[in-house]
Structures are given as C-alpha cells and as structure tokens.
C-alpha cells in the first residue's frame, strides 16, 4: 500500500470495502484485567508505609524480633558453634530478614555508618529500618555492608549483591563471583 501513488490508493479505497474496527474490543480487554488486583494504583495508594508508624514505638516491634530469633534458631537447628559457616550462609541467603536487628558497618556514605534498628520492610533496593529513637530510616542496599548478630554469631551482608526483591531471593541461587569491595 505505501508504495502506490496517491491516486492508485484512492482508486483502491473507493472500490474496496474497508471494515473499521469495532469499539467493543477495548471494553473486553479492560474487563479481563479487573479480576485480580489493580497493580499500579493499589500499591501506591494502600500498600506503602504511612506516617503513623513513626508514632509507633520501638518496643512494639521487640516481640517481632523475638519471633525472628526463634525462626532462625529453628532454621539452623540451634547448634551454633558446631556447624560449618557454609551451611548457615546458604540458609541465611534464603531466609527472611524481617524483624532482624542490623547495623550498618561499612558504607560509602559515612553518614549511614552506625545505624542500628529492626528491619520492617525489605524492597528491591532498600531496607526500611526503625531505630531506637522511633525513627523510620530508609537505607539503600547499594554500597553498604550490614552486620547481623545472633547468639554470638555475626554475619556480614554485602548489600550490593543483595539487590533483589525478597521474594526473588529465596528462588535464586547465588554464585560466588566478583570482588567484594565498596
């Protein structure tokens, strides 16, 4: 069609019956999408953390931390000094970090160093942490080293390698590659 001259195109159009599209098609497509979850609107309006939690105190999240400790002890079968660190590393990679007390040890930005708190939410690139002063801090994972402490066992988490959604992390296999340097 685009190669023919204008006259030839006009000629063809006048003789050929061109069927225009129905408008009904678009309605059906919209109806299908409504059934399970409106993704974009839903998350922005309802899901995210509101300002109210800043009024929530740090003490309210301590039972969550206790629950997390029990969960991790259960996951590693409790034998702390006995088992190899390899096993624990692999288990920690797949484990959930909500409710853990972490500290930022090394960071490219010096103002992040030394922040301690309980992890409330874990997103793709950030952690949301509540500190003892009831402040909600948003800390990016990139170029940061977090340290996790439990029963005398300290493990470091290199945030740059952890840039995954928490749900994807339990599905992914980690390979040892690349230098770990800030």
């Amino acid at each position: 069609m685009p190669r023919l001259k204008d006259e030839a195109i006009q000629d063809k159009l006048t003789r050929k019956a061109v069927v225009l599209e129905h408008c009904l098609r678009r309605r059906k497509k919209e109806k299908r999408k409504k059934t399970k979850g409106f993704s974009a609107k839903q998350r922005r309006e309802m899901r995210l953390f509101e300002v109210k939690p800043e009024q929530q105190k740090y003490e309210l999240f301590l039972p969550l931390h206790e629950l997390w400790k029990q969960y991790i002890r259960d996951l590693c079968n409790g034998l702390r000094p006995d088992t190899q660190p390899q096993m624990i590393q692999t288990k920690l990679l797949k484990a959930d970090l909500h409710g853990a007390i972490v500290t930022v040890t090394k960071s490219k930005c010096p103002s992040y160093v030394g922040i301690t708190g309980i992890i409330l939410q874990e997103m793709k690139h950030i952690f949301k942490i509540i500190t003892k002063e009831d402040k909600l801090k948003v800390i990016p994972k990139l170029n940061n080293v977090f340290s996790l402490e439990l029963d005398g066992f300290i493990s470091h988490i290199y945030g740059s390698k952890f840039q995954l959604r928490a749900s994807e992390r339990s599905a992914k296999k980690f390979k040892a590659k690349g230098t770990i340097d800030l």
């Binding site: 929530q56 969550l64 484990a95 939410q121």
Partner: protein, 144 residues
C-alpha cells in the same frame, strides 16, 4: 518419603511471615499495612516457588489486596441465605472484596480426607487395592 530440603526452608519462611503478620497486628490493630506487606510477600514467594498452602491459611488472606483478615478488625463475617443454602460471607474492609463459603458441615476439604495423607498412600507393587485411579481397575476393552 520426607519433603525436599529446599522446600522445607521455603515453607518455614512462609509460616514465619504469616506469624509475623499476626504478631504485628496484635501489637497495633490500626496499622494494617505491615501485615499486608508480609502477606503479599508470602503470596509472591509461594507463587514464585509454586508451593501449595493449606486452605485454612488461604482463607484468612484476602485474595484481592492480600491483607490479613481478622474478623472484627479487618473483615466482617455474616451468614446469608442464597438459593436455599446457608453461606458464610467474609468481607474485606480494605478493598471490599467478598469471599463466600457454603456452610455444609458434611463437606470435607481435600486436605482433611484420609486419602490425602502420605502415609495412607498405598505403595506401588505391594498392594493391588488402589483407589480409583490406578490402571488395574480399568478393565481391558474387548477387541472390536
């Protein structure tokens, strides 16, 4: 006949997330966002790894907005009559989605039936009295 190792860790994580959501709601009944976040995480993990969950767990999580349904705080429960039978209608207060369950005390979920347990599954080769699906119950067709 135990479950595979990777699945076990994933299931532990799922149950931890569920308990954490309950814990957070118990501490502060007004803040439902965190509980919703944890339930959403739980659903996405089970979707990613294709893990089945017990219906009793699925019934307390809203399918639409994935918030934790606690009757009285985040959901309302009513008994209604429709087409001659009694239904329990659970309505999520956050998104307005309803769930309907017929109240029939004689109905057993698949998970509760004795066939579903692994121990009751007959081992192949030893016993021939296998329920329904084994090929031995199918009589060979007479040649036409």
């Amino acid at each position: 006949m135990s479950a595979q190792v990777k699945d076990k860790e994933a299931f532990q994580r799922l149950s931890f997330l569920y308990q954490a959501a309950h814990c957070v709601l118990a501490q502060n009944p007004e803040n439902q966002e965190l509980a919703r976040f944890y339930c959403h995480m739980q659903r996405s993990i089970s979707r990613r790894l294709v893990l089945r969950q017990d219906p009793s767990v699925k019934r307390t999580i809203c399918k639409f907005c994935s918030s934790l349904l606690v009757p009285g705080i985040s959901s309302t429960v009513r008994q209604r009559r429709c087409s001659g039978r009694r239904w329990s209608v659970i309505r999520c207060l956050c998104c307005g989605q309803t769930k309907r369950f017929p109240s029939n005390p004689a109905y057993k979920l698949w998970a509760e039936q004795p066939e579903a347990l692994l121990e009751n599954q007959p081992q192949t080769g030893e016993r021939r009295q296998v329920p329904r699906r084994s090929p031995q119950h199918i009589r060979p067709k007479p040649p036409l």
